[in-house]
């Protein structure tokens, strides 16, 4: 109690994903800091600090919820800025699903690179360190001039597959060319076959024709991706895999954003199960979708926080999932 008093972990939770914050706090054996954030009647966000953060190692947990990204982001920025004003020693933003991660390039004239804007905003607010999980493109780390720890859900997925299936029965499938690297990495670790679906995408949120490259006959096809948004891609990919003779199809996705009618789409699909981590608050979606399974990612994040605080290496977590 004496020496470490001077600089402790302070975990501050935004409103978006209190459940995950609580799990992380429990894992770390601490309590979430006493703060309260709310909206005034004029919709401005207000954040009240109820305990000292002076010279503490502050971790701000905020995982922007589907449909309320800007609200969560502004809250996060206000919290970070408040902690900086309150003389925190270091402020780490823990953002399991990085908002605007998909807007990371200027794919059209005058399209904003919003991911870079978010990176700049976080630094402007006063974040000294970022912890996130499975960035859509790891190049986003380069938008920051502060350290970014990009954790992987892959070890958790590997464990899930090993616990539930025998590797020989499975084929790891990437639903698009961009995710091939992610999927091959899992296939290599499991020593299983790999397949890829090539798709044409005429417009965002619209899925075109799909072609399967590889053999999935009489296998359990496991689709691997980093985020499931409207689930159009996944569901179409699952149908293609079924047509090509897969025994069953399931999907392992890090961020279950599940916006729009994703739940209805999933319920009506040939997908056997969609396994997501709890980086994104899921609300009542688990109840509404019997196919949805959730892997708890909080041990990985908590361990990353502990290691960051103690100045230990985080790279162990890239290959191992803490039990």
């Amino acid at each position: 109690m004496s020496a470490e008093m001077a600089n402790e972990i302070k975990l501050i939770s935004g409103r978006s994903h209190p459940d995950l914050s609580e799990k992380i706090a429990k894992r770390l054996g601490i309590e979430v800091a006493r703060t309260i954030s709310l909206n005034y009647s004029n919709q401005e966000t207000s954040f009240t600090v109820g305990e000292s953060v002076r010279d503490e190692d502050v971790f701000v947990m905020q995982s922007t919820a589907t449909g309320d990204v800007n609200e969560g982001l502004m809250e996060l920025l206000i919290i970070i800025s408040a902690c900086r004003t309150a003389s925190a020693r270091r402020i780490t933003a823990v953002i399991p699903n990085f908002p605007y991660a998909r807007q990371d390039k200027k794919d059209k004239s005058r399209a904003p690179i919003s991911a870079r804007l978010v990176a700049n905003m976080l630094q402007t607010a006063g974040a000294n360190h970022i912890v996130t999980v499975d960035l859509h493109a790891s190049q986003i780390q380069g938008f920051f001039s502060v350290p970014v720890d990009n954790l992987y859900a892959e070890p958790s997925f590997l464990r899930y597959i090993r616990e539930n299936f025998t590797a020989e029965d499975c084929v790891i499938v990437s639903p698009d060319a961009g995710g091939a690297k992610r999927a091959t990495s899992i296939a290599d670790h499991l020593n299983t076959a790999f397949a890829l679906i090539h798709k044409e995408r005429p417009r965002p949120n619209v899925v075109g024709r799909m072609v399967l490259v590889g053999n999935v006959v009489d296998k359990i096809a496991i689709l691997v991706d980093d985020m499931a948004d409207t689930c159009g891609t996944l569901v179409k990919a699952a149908a293609v895999l079924k047509e090509n003779g897969a025994k069953s199809v399931l999907a392992l996705v890090t961020h279950g954003i599940l916006s729009g009618n994703a739940i209805e789409t999933l319920n009506g699909s040939v997908l056997e199960a969609l396994v997501v981590t709890n980086t994104v608050p899921l609300g009542d979606k688990v109840e509404r979708c019997p196919k949805l399974r959730v892997i708890d990612i909080s041990p990985t994040i908590a361990e990353a926080i502990r290691r960051t605080h103690n100045g230990e290496s985080v790279s162990y977590l890239f290959t191992h999932a803490p039990v």
Binding site: M1, M5, S13, R15, S16, P18, D19, S21, E31, V32, R34, I36, L38, N39, Y40, S41, N42, Q43, E44, T45, S46, F47, T48, V49, G50, E51, S52, A65, G67, D68, N70, G72, L73, M74, L77, I78, I79, S81, A82, T85, P99, Y100, Q103, S109, R110, A111, P112, S114, L117, N120, M121, Q123, T124, A125, P204, N205, T230, S259, P281, G283
Partner: protein, 453 residues
């Protein structure tokens, strides 16, 4: 027709964008601005902005299906998109500046703070369990010394001090060993409502909302009133003004145009030029044209903070001035007791003109109107630059003693106008902003806009 200039509108106030563009004689920039289904803002600017002077109009007001923070993020994204699209200069035009006004701590009508004081706070002793401990009576100077002193003679100075102030010493002694402050097991009940993200808006408080909260009515009062800071720590509310300024600069804004900042000091938060336009000429014009015998009226400032704003108008029009002083001191005020509002000046049998910069929940002006009626005012006008009318402001004003409320269209007023009817008059600020944009673009002085023309 102005060349090489692009006016880009956000979603917060389309009608103002239209009239500003109309006044400048150019079409608004084509853009797609919406949301992806995931909730992320989507922005595409369809006209070229390369080498152009871009003005982005977005007001700090939630509405049109989006919320204030959405609009603010949209603004930052648009600024950033223009910057990456090689715009020569990007100017953010914010008729109402968001987060320019946040109270230190929310307070009740009575003046008592909304948050309960921490129960252990009343002891007024030390603040934290710190190591080395805070020195005090009954506490050894250091562990080593205390041991020595205790061995040498029993009546050392600390013991004598302890006897002199027994009660005080006992309390502090009881507080200092570790563990005491952490005995409360429920350190986590606040940020984790089961209500999800939108909880703040959608959660209906278990108790009916008392009508006695001012300035910024909280929607989830139950959360707030159950909040307790750590013992010995005084909770405080984050002020987002600087942050908002920094975020806009970091997005790439080269210039900011706004109107009637609640605190003119906000200008100092920016590293870029900020032009703070005044709604005053408009308001003065209204007084001259629409209030009969305005020379005999009295200008009233509903609180001391706005006195300067009101006296400026009173002075330049040579009208009498009065002030309402709000007692906000939380000196043993029971909840039921109202904060005393004191009128300084004479209003009996006269027309009163309340002047303020913003009407939010409408509490201040409606209560001021009540007081003025009591003091014998014949007719009460309220002239305000920004009419936010959040919460149940509209019904509050409808039920109040106010005869006329005059606001500018710095935020969309169509809905408010429909609900307030003839009680509300809306002044158009589009010409002022159009002229400011034109002058900034041509590098002319805009100080002429500050004076009444």
């Amino acid at each position: 027709m102005v060349r090489n200039i692009v006016v880009l509108g956000g979603n917060s106030h389309p009608s103002l964008v239209e009239s500003v563009c109309g006044a400048l004689g150019l079409p608004p920039c084509n853009r797609i601005l919406g949301k992806f289904s995931s909730g992320e803002s989507r922005c595409e600017i369809q006209d070229s902005v390369r080498g152009k002077d871009v003005y982005i109009i977005q007001t700090g007001f939630g509405g049109n299906g989006a919320r204030l923070n959405d609009h603010f993020m949209d603004l930052c994204i648009m600024i950033s998109a223009c910057k990456t699209g090689s715009a020569r200069r990007v100017t953010a035009v914010l008729p109402l500046f968001p987060y320019s006004r946040q109270p230190d701590l929310p307070y009740k009508k009575s003046g008592a703070p909304l948050f309960k004081a921490s129960s252990e706070d009343s002891k007024k002793d030390y603040t934290f369990d710190s190591v080395p401990p805070t020195p005090g009576p009954g506490m050894p100077k250091s562990a080593g010394l205390a041991g020595l002193a205790g061995l040498a003679n029993g009546t050392d100075i600390t013991n004598r001090l302890l006897k002199m102030s027994v009660t005080n010493g006992n309390e502090s002694a009881a507080k200092l060993p570790n563990g005491n402050a952490k005995t409360d097991g429920d350190g986590f009940p606040f940020t984790n409502g089961t209500n999800g993200v939108n909880g703040s808006r959608e959660l209906t408080p278990p108790t009916p909302k008392p009508a006695s909260y001012t300035t910024h009515d909280y929607v989830n009062l139950s959360l707030v009133s159950s909040f307790q800071a750590k013992p010995g720590y005084k909770q405080w509310v984050a002020q987002a003004g600087t942050l908002v300024a920094n975020l806009m600069t970091c997005a790439g804004a080269d210039h900011v145009i706004t109107m009637d900042l609640h605190d003119p000091q906000v200008q100092g938060f920016f590293d870029v030029p900020v032009d703070n336009l005044y709604g005053r000429p408009l308001l003065q014009q209204y007084i001259q044209r629409n209030i009969p015998n305005y020379k005999d009226a009295v200008i009233i400032s509903p609180d001391a903070g706005g006195a300067k704003r009101a006296t400026a108008i009173a002075d330049s029009m040579q009208i009498d001035f009065a002030l309402i002083h709000k007692e906000r001191r939380p000196t043993r005020i029971t909840d039921r007791q109202n904060a005393s509002m004191i009128l300084v000046g004479n209003v009996s049998d006269r027309v009163c003109i309340l002047i303020d910069d913003i009407v939010d929940t409408g509490n201040t002006i409606t209560r001021a109107a009540k007081l003025l009626k009591k003091e014998g005012a014949t007719k009460i006008y309220a002239l305000l630059t920004h009419g936010v009318f959040s919460d149940d402001a509209v019904s509050r004003i409808n039920a109040s003693a106010l005869d006329k409320v005059v606001v500018t269209n710095s935020v969309p007023q169509a809905e408010h106008k429909a609900r307030l009817g003839a009680k509300l008059d809306v002044l158009d600020i589009a010409p002022i902003f159009a002229e400011a944009i034109r002058r900034v673009h041509h590098g002319e002085s805009i100080s002429v806009l500050f004076n009444q023309n």
